[in-house]
């Protein structure tokens, strides 16, 4: 090690690695539904895209994690974004390309990607019934 720059380079390379190992409640959480329904409709490439994008863009306060069945199997793969103090945003039928867009627009620029959000899904068949059921 002949210079501080070399040390810094290693640190930056490793930060994404070890940075995962802290659970701070002020973090934004990006949750991917990874139950059988999610996996079957392609949640794993979505999850992996999100993880690598977040790391590449060096978004330090974002945690990407997974959860079980969210209950909207027909809209999988589902990605939910929880920002501290804000209502959660639910994206449906996500694929790796959409995931990149969500990172770029929502997580970096703070603009929700309306066209992939659940309420747009009202046009989908069965959604109204589901909401009714949910409100019970």
């Amino acid at each position: 090690m002949k210079s501080l720059e070399e040390l810094k380079a290693i640190r930056e390379r490793m930060q994404g690695q070890v940075g995962v190992r802290s659970a701070d409640s002020s973090d934004t959480r990006v949750v991917v539904g990874m139950a059988t329904c999610g996996i079957a409709s392609g949640a794993r490439p979505v999850l992996n895209t999100l993880v690598s994008e977040v790391n590449e863009k060096k978004l330090e306060n974002v945690t990407v994690t997974q959860t079980g069945c969210i209950g909207l199997c027909q809209f999988e793969p589902i990605v939910e974004v929880f920002e501290p103090g804000q209502e959660k945003v639910t994206y449906i039928k996500v694929n790796p390309e959409k995931a990149k867009e969500i990172v770029e627009k929502h997580l970096i620029k703070g603009q929700k990607v309306e066209e992939y959000m659940l309420h747009k899904g009202a046009e989908h068949k069965g959604y109204a019934d589901f909401v009714k059921f949910d409100e019970k």
Partner: protein, 596 residues
Amino acid sequence: MYRAHVLVCGGTGCTSSGSAKIIDRLHEELKKNDLTNEVAVVKTGCHGLCAEGPVMVIYPEAVFYSRVSEEDVPEIVSEHLLKGRIVKRLVYREAVSENGIESLNDTVFYKKQTRIALRNCGVINPESIDEYIGTGGYEALGKVLTTMTPDDVIQTITDSGLRGRGGAGFPTGLKWKFASGNRGNVQKYVCCNADEGDPGAFMDRSVLEGDPHVVLEAMAIAGYAIGADQGYIYVRAEYPIAVERLRIAIGQAREYGLLGKNIFGTDFSFDIDLRLGAGAFVCGEETALMTSIEGNRGEPRPRPPFPAVKGLFQSPTILNNVETWANIPRIILNGPEWFASMGTAKSKGTKVFALGGKINNTGLVEIPMGTTLRTVIEEIGGGIPNGKKFKAAQTGGPSGGCIPAEHFDIPIDYDNLLSIGSMMGSGGLIVMDEDTCMVDIAKFFLQFTVDESCGKCTPCRVGTKRLLEMLEKITDGRATMDDLDKLEELCYYIKENAQCGLGQTAPNPVLSTLRYFRDEYVEHVVNKRCPAGVCKKLVTYKIDPEKCRGCTLCSRNCPVNAINGEAKQPHVIDLAKCIKCGTCIEKCRFDAVYID
């Protein structure tokens, strides 16, 4: 890029309960599920909750699994890692609340702790220098070498108020200052005392196992501060995992040029070598330790001259304990004010304790100085098992003393502990409940010092032996009140006349138990009774004929056939044959056996 990290404890406790097999199985199952490129498996150092081992933490959710077995691994992989469903039955019980599952840092065990010396323990892979650098490792060394003068470094450590964590609490900055004269003109050494030998202490082992690079970095910083180019780590050979990880760490640091010539392109050169001790307690005493590194029999020598003047190979030397070293890089990076803002007036920062004895959460904790014993035992430690009452806690091992229940709310720091006749010691904290006999405890520690006395000076070699004999006389019921006075007198004589710390502190367990539990000694002497029912010569086992159902369970289990009686008739213990092993009490389902 891994989306999840599975941290499995590779400390001594969890290793002995099978964590290595769990790691193998994890790799196997991840491969089966095609997850090897998505999930990282990391073998870490101690997480602290040794009682709940083997432990596993999965990030990013920070879910804490306890008492994991090899058979649980397939479920964890297919449920948690593949489908994202937490395996509730394996989650550490304290982390399960009405609102679901809490993250690790919200459990009482961790919430009340401040981890500085242990910050990387259980978080990084101790065998990877890159992970250490990823958490800011070697930045303090870089800062020191490129922006600070050696005197600045010493001033920073002095201002932080850091005191030696080996037990005596000598100010670290002052120690460095004493050794700092004549830089560049004389050979000097930096040593690390990793000869942790107190019964019940395992803090240093855990730091070495969990974060070995922090010690290397800190020693290099001290080398720069006093003008030394060589360091030695004296570690006991009974710590094989710690030794192995230190070897790996030293090799990696040399490869990266963080040890060796011209570190960070400066003129500063520093290297470290390991020296293994054979496990003699006295070699934890600084002069004996250095004599042992020199290759001689590990015996202490008189001070002065102090090591800062004439130490290893007759050269100025500083020797600090593992935990002291573990604090140094953070103080350099965060500043002395940050460190001094924690703790009490004269004891700054935090202290690591190894919790053991009659306590639920046996393990490793780091608390700010000034935390009360009550918080440590009742909250972090999870209280005493089986609803028993707290009687006393022993700090400082065989050199320390007991803290009775009346001092339960005393803020723990160096001076408070000394004032109540105990000492900080290296950090072993042994909890005792109402079933503990205090005379027996004193006897236990004396037995230890008698075994470990090096034999060089008479007060220690002969004195501790005589002390032990007097204690045996008491627990055998042969002592008189006169013996109690003699016991106390001999204690003070040894304290004043022994040559090194081992002998000078050896009577402490006797003196402190005499101070707080004199009535228990008197009960043994006058009434020939052991109130806790521990001292075998003073108790007899009896069977209450009213309660005995004649189930014959006790007589069938008695190892010496001392229990007689017909089935369905009250049994009787033959006192002449009874060896007082306690098996009958354990076996009896009707509470019929009692100690008189």
